[in-house]
């Protein structure tokens, strides 16, 4: 491409050097000739750069950088569409093609996907909140006040985290309801339902551990009520059936382990913080990975499947 342009630009520069030389004397002519040559080269490079830039803007998908990032062509062929999903790390959890009726909202209600999306928003807002929060009895409450009044968009951030958490609990429950109504837990998806139940429990625990963190009356008494039940654990709580017989006191039972003390205090705040921000998100993420992977491995989304009639039930295999 540059070779074809060179003669043209050279010609142009040639005429400009001619104009310049007419005004100069004989002794400077050799130096001026060199200068003119350099200028001519510079102009040639500039013209080349403009030309290249124009082509890049016109067809960015032909550049090496583009190809190195996306790896495949993105024209409107079925093959490209499939590869666009399969060769993308974020999209490759999807199959290339899907049951045409499954994309309609009425079958899935979209609750599983939306739950995951809300979880991502919660991780995002939660990470931002962590910049402004110290899990210590002295400053935790003041940090919330500071967040609400002084941090730009701090109040919005906290509100989004709070309501996002509530939304996630509602969505998880509705997701479970839909999966039950469509019988999607049946063969071969039995185990994925079990993983889903664990994810429901982890969602509730995530929400519950976050409740204490503002260190206000609401969170304090909610967690007091909640963890007081732990003291009544059979065998492992000092108030529970057979607890005292097992040697349980308020200072060694399961509630003590949860709170890091016999009352909801600074240790409980720190423990809630670590469970909420580090431990449970990691555990939940691991289960989510398994959950999504199993959806694919168990044959993708369950339906809408063709209906089976009563007369078509096969005899169960004898063990």
């Amino acid at each position: 491409m540059p070779d074809t342009n060179m003669p043209g630009t050279n010609g142009q520069n040639g005429s400009s050097t001619g104009n310049g030389s007419s005004g100069g004397n004989g002794s400077g002519r050799g130096g001026e000739g060199k200068l003119a040559a350099v200028l001519a080269d510079a102009k040639a490079v500039q013209a080349r750069a403009v030309e290249e830039l124009r082509e890049t803007v016109k067809a960015p998908e032909k550049t090496d950088v583009w190809k190195s990032i996306l790896r495949v062509k993105h024209d409107e062929t079925p093959r490209s569409r499939a590869l666009g999903v399969l060769s993308n790390v974020f999209l490759h959890l999807h199959p290339a093609k899907i049951n045409r009726d499954a994309v309609a909202y009425n079958y899935t209600w979209g609750m599983g996907g939306m739950t995951f999306y809300v979880y991502i928003t919660l991780v995002f807002t939660g990470t931002l909140l962590m910049f402004y929060y110290h899990p210590s009895k002295v400053v935790a409450f003041r940090d919330i006040l500071y967040l609400e009044s002084d941090v730009p968009f701090g109040k919005l951030l906290r509100n989004m985290h709070r309501w996002g958490a509530h939304l996630m609990v509602i969505m998880v429950e509705l997701h479970m309801f839909r999966v039950f109504l469509t019988g999607s837990y049946k063969k071969p998806r039995e185990f994925n339902w079990v993983v889903g139940v664990l994810l429901l429990v982890l969602t509730l625990l995530l929400s519950f551990t976050g409740y204490l963190l503002p260190d206000d009356q609401l969170g304090f008494w909610a967690v007091t009520v909640g963890t007081n039940m732990a003291r009544a654990t059979p065998l492992l709580g000092h108030d529970g059936p057979f607890g005292p017989q097992m040697g349980m006191t308020a200072f060694n039972d399961v509630r003590f382990g949860l709170l890091g003390g016999s009352i909801v205090d600074s240790n409980a705040l720190l423990r809630a913080y670590i469970w909420h921000c580090v431990a449970i998100p990691i555990i939940a993420s691991l289960f989510m990975i398994v959950h999504f992977w199993r959806v694919r491995k168990d044959g993708g989304i369950s339906g809408p499947a063709p209906m089976m009639l009563e007369s078509e039930i096969k005899e169960p295999k004898k063990v």
Binding site: N159, D216, P241
Partner: protein, 311 residues
Amino acid sequence: MDLHQLWTILSTPDNVPIVLLLFVVPFYTWYGLRQSFANDRLIAELEANPEMAKTHHRKTQPWRPEWTREVHVWPFLLRIEFLAAIIVTIILMVWSITLNAPLEEPANPTLTMNPSKAPWYFLGLQEMLVYFDPWMAGVVMPSLIIIGLMVIPYIDTNPLGNGYYTFKQRKYSILTFIFGFIVLWVTMIVIGTLIRGPGWMWFWPGTTWDHNRLIFEVNRDLPDIFGIHTRVPKIIFGAIVVGLYCVLAAIGIHKLITRTAFKRKIYARMSVLQYTTMQIFLVIMLALPVKILIRLMFRIKYVWVTPWFNI
């Protein structure tokens, strides 16, 4: 009628999810069951007409032979996901801009909140504390709920209704789940949030939460009603009554799952272990409404009184 009290309860920021639940759960129940009934009509048609069953695509969704069975994820699914993400973001944004997250006074162990409530999704369990001791309501029941949910796929031997909405083919399991999810879980959350006031007393919506209200209620134990006051007879009597309940409930459940020819067919597919597991979980689940009823109607606190635990 104290409308202000009602508004105070409904507009408490943390109660807004319950108000949302009150609309969303009935809507999706209707939305799912409507598709179930539509499918059931088609199933009835196909069962009456075997010729049609051979060629029909067996869905209520429209279908033409020239259509492909599958569509590309890009763009047909991804555009919906993208749209859903935008809509959820907008909902969350608007909700967060219009309503502030609650923040009360700094935590103060010397000043008890009345009523002091757990987060809303645990209020069903807190409501259960009225009817059972904490070890039962707070530890055993939640564990059983979790394990009970996990065993569902392993005890449901009905091969029908896999991957499509139907009511007729799975009447028993769907009614059981709706009973557990809506009647027990959601209703008890709603009661715990909207109806339980100071002292965890029952205030109908619209009545004032009176902090000085007293209820003169004498809760009795079942053995006392029958004039049994000494320890050992109480233990034996309680064990007999609880055992009797278990046997009666199990017989009732057995009658229910072997009522029709179809149900007997599904029952025949169950192994002894599957059947026993199902019976145990259902008998315990049914114990909750039974205990609620005898508590609210006869003011009976415990049925089985022992020195170690009370039920």
